[in-house]
Amino acid sequence: MASLTIKGLTKKYDETIAVENFNLEVKDKEFLVLVGPSGCGKTTVLNSIAGLININEGEIWFGEELVDAPQKKLFKIPQKRGVAMVFQDYAIYPHMTVYSNMAFPLEVRKVAPEEIKERVIKAARLLGIDHLLQRKPKALSGGQKQRIALGRAIVRNPKIFLMDEPLANLDAKLRVQARVELKKLQEELGVTTIFVTHDQIEAMTMGDRIALMNNGHLEQIGPPLELYQKPKNLFVADFIGSPSINMFQGNLVKKDKSIGIDLKFFFYPLTTKLSKSITDKEISKVVVGIRPENVLIVQNKKDGLFQANILRIEPVGKEYNIHLEVEGKPFISIESSADNWRQGDRVWITFAKDYIYIFDQESGDIIS
């Protein structure tokens, strides 16, 4: 069991920079989810931690122990790092039985045979695969293979678990189930875990904290709700949440003393508190973000509303995603009932106060 610290990690492949100046601290026993779009460098970070690739710059610490620091010519080989890894394709050896697969890491470490047996059987019981131990993996289902891969990781009593999209190859239903089980297992074992995924729902539901990556660097790290409610920039706001946040481009303008945002179809006045924080900065072009649940459809015209067309009403379980459009710009609202409207209706819209985010159009950083 250990905490993990990454300082200034940089990894280049020839010309492409896969990860640049990446910093991360994972607490002991924490379940950290590393999430981001495809190609953003998640696997690179994970492989660096495991020692499967040589990094160009930076330091990696396991607790108090420095395991990787190219500037100090220090590199601990993966065999000696004491991490366990679950791969996306599970990497289960097809020629060995399930038992041998799980025993393999202990055998190469020359653990006594009786102890191997004991630990493998214990791990198999924990994962509910003890009846499969004598089978060859070939004929097993995806869910069973995934458990074997997990089993091979936990028999080791590793310091750190690394998992690279271990649920990506499961079908939707199994994935939800595996999510819960995996999280429970990690809590029971209390092993520091870094879990890679590109699925933000997986990230939101599983992580103690989420580290969101983009283009080789860290965008934001924090508990799931913090990322959801206090995104640092446009990218984070856009990536987290489903359906995604609605975004409108606009200009900051002064009108009748107070400051507001001109969205072309609508003038959105800012509260005095907001305007104060904004006037200091010299920004005129902004992006307004509003989560679908904060887009409200109202019955009657009131002040501070605008009109939009209903494009489509999409039932998703107990809620409805209402696809709307104003001046050619589509956006979404989530409503608990859609009985009052039909496709093609023209309705009045308002944004829930205090729930809008304003970003600088140029840098993407949040302003308020």
Partner: protein
């Protein structure tokens, strides 16, 4: 202070780890080294050595020799036998390489038509390629035999008595006889190369073209053939290199005869070296063969691996 000390401590163990990783790779390299080293000596050092020999006047097993520079090459370019061999070799290349590729491609396309018992046809087509050149040369001496041979017999049966010939005993015919026999031997191999190429194209592509109403001919001409460029290149390199180094078949058939009519570079090289003990002059021939082969292979090889 503590962290500093720790750093030094860990640095020390860390360096050991680096070396441990390196040591493992080193051992692995040591395991493959005898293999790789002997391969490199055999293929590259020997090639260089062969070139050096070609710059000497070394004759056979007498150990002493002098460096005479490029004299052997000058002699070579004035030697009518060299030009005869080169001419015959070019004839072989020009007819054999396209011939075997076209016939192999035809076989592959025919086999691609959802043929019943495709595996049996494929196996039969490949059978000639399983034979040693010594065997095929023996078989074809019998086929071409002027008095009792199969070919003259069949021509007689077909009433084409006028076409009956001396075949391999006829200096004007022998190269063509050899080319036909070699095409026979290699056609199945060529077929396998092309069939593998055709089969590597996803079925969905041809299915899509069929749905679009493309004729069978269009599918091959417009969709399949352009995509098996790699097979063409592979086949081309393999058959070119074979044609440049060919020796066994012709030697066993009739020692490159009658006369010099079937001497190609490989045959003349052998004869100069081992029949006349002119080792240095023979080495000159092999250097030429090597240069021609490299000229064909190297550009393709580097391009193929650069792409990866």
């Amino acid at each position: 202070m503590r962290t500093l000390n720790q750093n030094i401590l860990f640095n020390a163990t860390g360096v050991k780890q680096v070396e441990e990783g390196k040591k493992e790779k080193l051992i692995a390299l040591l395991v493959i080294l005898p293999g790789i080293l002997s391969v490199f000596i055999f293929f590259y050092i020997f090639s260089g050595w062969n070139f050096i020999i070609s710059l000497t006047d070394w004759e056979g097993f007498i150990p002493s020799y002098n460096i005479i520079g490029l004299k052997n090459y000058i002699q070579l370019f004035q030697d009518p036998l060299f030009w005869t061999s080169l001419k015959n070799n070019i004839l072989l290349i020009v007819l054999f390489v396209p011939g075997v590729m076209i016939i192999g491609l035809c076989m592959a396309v025919l086999l691609d038509q959802r043929v019943r018992a495709e595996g049996i046809f494929r196996t039969i087509y490949l059978l000639p390629f399983s034979l040693s050149f010594v065997v095929t040369a023996t078989l074809w001496s019998w086929m071409y035999s002027p008095r009792v041979g199969t070919i003259n017999f069949i021509l007689g049966k077909l009433g084409l008595t006028s076409l009956r010939k001396g075949w391999i005993t006829d200096p004007n015919m022998v190269m063509y006889c050899i080319i036909i026999a070699l095409i026979w031997q290699f056609a199945g191999y060529s077929c396998i190369i092309f069939l593998a190429g055709i089969r590597s194209i996803p079925h969905s592509q041809t299915a899509a073209a069929m749905v679009d109403g493309a004729s069978n001919f269009t599918i091959y001409w417009r969709i399949i053939l352009p995509q098996i460029k790699a097979s063409f290149i592979t086949a081309f390199i393999i058959f070119m290199c074979f044609a440049l180094k060919a020796f066994d078949f012709i030697w066993v058939l009739n020692r490159g005869g009658p006369g010099y009519s079937a001497h190609i570079l490989g045959v003349t090289m052998y004869k100069e070296t081992f029949s006349f003990d002119k080792f240095a002059y023979g080495a000159t021939y092999s250097t030429i063969i090597l240069l021609l082969s490299l000229l064909i292979v190297v550009p393709f090889l580097f391009r193929i691996y650069k792409e990866k």
